[in-house]
Amino acid sequence: MRSIINYLKEVYFGVKSLLVGMKVTGSYFFRPSTIVTQKYPNNRKDLVMFDRFKGEVIMPHNEKNEHKCTGCGICELNCPNGSIEIISKTITTEDGKKKKAIDKHIYRLGMCTFCALCVKTCPSNALAFGQKFEHAVFNRELLIKTLNKPGSQLMKGVE
């Protein structure tokens, strides 16, 4: 007799536990406002990333096409996996002095691990993080980027 009661108890509590679980899932059916799914990529236009989001390394230029990179190479030294390479050149300034400047600041996005050491250690704050995150391309070469824009110059006053 006892075993039968125990068996029925088991069945009762078992079915009850299943119904409790189904109540949780079912309740969301009547509360559609609590659903959090984002309709990416349809919401691309009004999708705003956070300010500090590490999408890619960029070199901000001002409206006169000037950047702050002096070509010191500290970012290249700090990069743990060699994604940054700086090719520098010597230029002659107006008063006849010879000066080192960057020719190309090469950034290999495919190798970057977004550790933020380059941005953090840059003494003249020349690098920053961009918000772009859709980086898929068909050709691997396209992931090698030159950060300084063509014809750009060092900002005045940055040493």
């Binding site: 536990s17 299943l18 679980g21 959090v36 500090r52 977004f114 550790c115 050491l117 250690t121």
Partner: protein, 374 residues
Amino acid sequence: MEEQVKNISTDEQQEYVINMGPQHPSTHGVLRLVVSLKGETVKSVQPHIGYIHRGIEKMCESITYPQIIHLTDRMDYLSAHINNEAVCLTVEKALQVEIPDRIKVIRTIMSELTRIQSHQLWWASFGMDLGGLTCFFYGLRDREKILDIFEETCGSRMIVSYNCPGGVMYDLHPNFQQKVKDFIKYFRKILPEYDQLLTGNVIFHERSKGIGKLSLEDAISYGVTGPSGRASGFSCDVRKHEPYSAYDKVQFKEILFTGGDTYFRYVARIQEMWESMNIIEQLIDNIPEGPYAVKMKPVIKLPEGEYYQRVETARGELGAYIISDGNKNPYRVKFRSPNFVNLSVLNHIAKGFKIADLVAIGGSLDLVIPDIDR
């Protein structure tokens, strides 16, 4: 002749060996388990590891100390922040740097958030392993809120790289405190839902109670730490026994059970989420003012010697062991990773259970494969 064949009982038939993995959904990564079966009963489990070996310990020897941080993220990616902390604490210990309270508190809050999100993902995937796909959506939905907090302050969601020797990379975002408070308020309401969905479920009980029992003696002799060890009664919480960061300032209790089976390993993790929320609530309102990082030398060189620091990740005890010869690169780095040690017990506890139980046992140990291989 035919009679002889008929007389062979099932016990005398050959063992059946199958490969579970390397690409098996329940191993959560590339882990190959060679399972010897007799019928459906597991006779032995042999883990074959190394499918995702990247040589992180060797790579550490050729890079500087601040650069090591971004590699430790990629060991146990679910407790990335705590891994970073282990290396930072070791370096700071070696240099004998005094760390201000603000940094300690920030690190503790971040570690506990990491622990919660790790357990949420574990709960999600554990439910899925046992056939409850709903759990996966619920777990990931709530984890997203923590990842948003991380993204706002650290810049990335999972692989945060937020710690650096001497402090943290950026100061807390102005919204941080409010967001964490909102999350705790939200999650305190949601966590009972987890219990209603899975903890009380009769199917879950049948599949977890009494399965994969690990005794206290075995837990100690195998070195199983973390919630898996504490479910067997092994008091091994580094936060309690050897407090680092701000853990000596907060009140929390170590979750200990004596059952030691899959069900208790599950309950231990659910209880840990409650405890983590308690810890965060104690700290979030009084984050001390001060700098977010101590000024370190541009090239960090550790004095010659050996340094060790252990921390409590979401899966157990992680030890970072650094031998320095005085250069800017370490001479040798060794990580005592909790997952590698926890995996070693799998053969012992899965023996004699059915192959479907092996999935439950493996899920309850909460293995992260990149941490095993490193």
